[in-house]
């Protein structure tokens, strides 16, 4: 397997090149611009035979993706933040039409105020639109997740679109050594795109995007809910198969030193790498610290989280976005909801952190772990929702 130095954006673009989709429709936006820039160069150099549609907005990018996917093409795109928001009218339509589109999404704060750096508020804002959402911890995972996303969306039990995400700048622009696969291996792995029905089939005309009223809409939404439930099994199967083939296995969640842990951090994305280092350090000091990484946020891995946290005394739920509901971030509200009926559950504290790219350091993670140790000892949390690292 070729080892290459790649940024997160380069890793995603490389995965796209190897998948060689039929159509890419995209629009530039920091910090995801490089993905489509690099891919455009692949098109210009004849390294892929993709039809690249350089649209005039992200709204048109997703609209063209819907058209192309409905026409039976294998379709990919990339965006971030405001771009994802501009697409957001069309994202649920892509899901409802059951179109297997893969979107490379770089997590970035939402305006306003305008900010180009990492947080998860863009991706969390579209979490209920019927898209599978996979978070990456580093460039290696970004590469692996894009490849797996293509397998997941095209599985007939799913047929929902997916976004594989990285953290803006932290992953998208940081160079790491990653293991890539040979082109032929990827080609064989993703296989031929199977067309179920297509608006290009002029001999068998279909009507897609019908108006769907009181008598059918609910059933179609139910079918989407069922597909999202099935996606859990498919994601696990695809993650295990990836491991068997290429040596890196994936699941809905990943645990690190959690089996005998007393305190834990629950996080998504790049923060998991920082937390991992602190867990190692605390373990050396005899503190039973562990990490629960939520890799897939949609569908939500409730059962896996319940299981993973069942013996934990106190856990910090890390949210790099806020619902602005006074009830904490999206990860917190969903984890807390998942744990509601459990008799064995940890004390939970929600840490809303890192908004607009504010640094989360090893020291910060140490402090958060210390607070969990204190909570575990006292049986009390300081307050369920903390805005961590914000100046008063």
């Amino acid at each position: 397997m070729p080892q290459l130095a790649k940024t997160g954006n380069e890793a995603m673009a490389e995965a796209m090149r190897q998948i060689n989709p039929d159509v890419v429709a995209a629009y530039p936006i920091t910090p995801a611009t490089e993905i489509v820039m690099i891919f455009s160069q692949f098109v210009a150099d004849g390294l892929v035979n993709t039809e690249y549609v350089a649209v005039e907005s992200e709204h048109s990018a997703m609209s063209a993706c819907v058209g192309a996917s409905a026409a039976g093409a294998r379709v990919m795109t990339g965006t971030s933040s405001q771009g994802l928001q501009l697409m957001s009218e069309i994202l649920p339509i892509a899901a409802a039409l059951r179109l297997p589109i893969v979107l490379c999404d770089v997590n970035r704060a939402l305006s306003g105020p305008i900010n180009i750096h990492c947080d998860h508020s863009d991706t969390m804002a579209v979490r209920d639109f019927g898209w599978v959402q996979i978070f990456s911890e580093n460039a290696q995972e970004a590469y692996d997740n894009v490849l797996q996303a293509m397998k997941i969306v095209e599985d007939e039990r799913v047929r929902l679109p997916a976004m594989a995400t990285t953290d803006g700048f932290i992953i998208s622009h940081c160079m790491e050594k990653i293991d890539t696969l040979e082109d032929a291996v990827v080609k064989n792995y993703v296989g031929e795109h199977k067309v179920i029905n297509s608006v290009l089939d002029v001999d068998k005309p279909i009507t897609l995007g019908s108006i769907d009223l009181q008598d059918y809409y609910f059933e179609h939404r139910m079918a989407m809910a069922d597909a999202m439930n099935h996606a859990k099994q498919v994601i696990v199967e695809v993650g295990q198969d990836f491991g068997r083939r290429f040596g890196r296995s994936y699941g809905m969640i990943e645990t690190y030193q959690l089996d005998d842990a007393e305190v834990a951090i629950v996080a998504l994305g790049s923060t998991c790498g920082t937390a991992r280092a602190v867990v190692d350090e605390l373990r050396e000091k005899g503190i039973k610290a562990g990490l629960l990484k939520i890799r897939v946020f949609r569908p939500f891995p409730a059962d896996e989280i319940i299981q993973a946290l069942s013996k934990i005394k106190a856990a910090a739920i890390m949210d790099r976005s806020d619902t602005l509901s006074s009830q904490g971030g999206q990860v917190f509200t969903e984890v807390r909801s998942a744990l509601y009926e459990q008799s064995n559950k940890p004390l939970l504290t929600n840490y809303i952190y890192g908004l607009g790219g504010r640094e989360i350091s090893l020291d910060d993670i140490r402090r958060i772990f210390v607070e969990q140790v204190e909570a575990a000892a006292s049986g009390k949390v300081r307050g369920p929702v903390q805005h961590f690292g914000v100046r008063q």
């Binding site: 907005s57 009218e89 339509i93 297509s198 608006v199 002029v202």
Partner: protein, 309 residues
């Protein structure tokens, strides 16, 4: 131009039984255009009357492939389908040698909310025909003004009231804006002159690249006339030069219909409820301004077409 007797033999792209109002001009636009295609067609449609009346699940009136995405993105969606076709054709994954990709949008979905999407798709040069079925207001949501609504028309968001006499602005000249995109074919047509419309559709289908057709489609509900008068309203629009019929092929203007006698614009206005308030005392200046603007635009067009009055 195929003979009428041949056209009626062709399989209907849009069948009856849909829920359009009696006297609706939108299905006429669709049928007259799609029947002119000698090759298979794939249709994209913006949210609006046409989509709503023809696709109530689990039924469809469409005998050709049809995709509705959203309101403002018929052009972008169609461009995606066309891109897929190009890619799949290159890879030998589609049987069809050529398909006519047609996007339909109302004036709201074309002049207003879908304008950016349309401009983008035309600039990128996709091989597609965009058709605006222009009924001069947001009819599907209950007759709200659009930038295609004529001056003085009574709509529910620019109503005629005690101190205002309907819409204050003249309609935006979208056809001219599309000409400025320097695409190979732009035309303005109406359902009242069906031979002219079908010929234009046929010409558009014979050209590769982006094409735009702006078709006046009288709406009996929004304009206020008897259902049987739909084509007559469209003819009056052409005969008063309120809606001239012309085409622009690779930048060359050609007038395709010149009324023998140019009727005063009030002939068109007085036949519809939406302009009724203009005929009350005190609104003479508005009527005058509409005639003046109609004349100005007509003269300008004649010059471009190399015609002399």
């Amino acid at each position: 131009m195929p003979a009428l007797k041949d056209l009626v033999q062709k399989k209907e792209p849009l069948c009856g039984g849909h829920r359009a109002c009696s006297g609706c001009g939108a299905p006429i636009v669709v049928r007259q255009i799609l029947l002119a295609s000698k090759e298979p067609v794939v249709v994209t449609c913006a949210t609006g009357c046409l989509e709503v009346v023809s696709t109530i699940f689990p039924y469809t009136a469409w005998n050709v492939p049809f995709l509705h995405n959203a309101f403002e993105n018929a052009a972008a969606t169609c461009s995606g389908i066309e891109a897929a076709f190009q890619a799949l054709k290159r890879k030998g994954k589609t049987k069809a040698e050529h398909i006519n990709f047609v996007a339909f949008g109302g004036d709201g979905g074309t002049y207003d909310i879908g304008f950016q999407s349309l401009s983008g798709a035309m600039e990128r040069g996709h091989d597609m025909l965009y058709v605006c079925y222009n009924n001069e207001a947001y009819m599907n949501t209950g007759i709200q003004r659009s930038s295609a609504t004529p001056k003085g028309a009574n709509t529910t968001t620019a109503p005629a009231g005690k101190v205002q006499a309907g819409k204050k602005q003249f309609a935006k000249d979208l056809t001219e804006i599309m000409v400025s995109h320097d695409i190979p074919y732009v035309a303005q047509a109406s359902i009242g002159n069906w031979r002219d419309l079908t010929s234009k559709a046929e010409k558009a289908f014979s050209i590769r690249g982006p094409k735009f057709l702006n078709v006046l489609q009288p709406c009996r509900l929004g304009w206020g006339f008897a259902p049987a008068q739909t084509p007559e309203m469209a003819r009056l629009a052409a005969d008063t030069c309120f809606w001239p019929l012309y085409e622009v092929v690779n930048g060359e203007y050609k007038l395709t219909y010149k009324p023998k006698v140019k009727k005063p614009v009030v002939e068109f206005l007085k036949s519809q409820d939406r302009f009724r308030h203009l005929f009350k005392p005190g609104n003479e200046a508005i009527l005058e301004s509409i005639q003046k603007e109609t004349d100005r635009r007509w003269e300008k067009l004649l010059k471009k077409c190399g015609e002399t009055q």
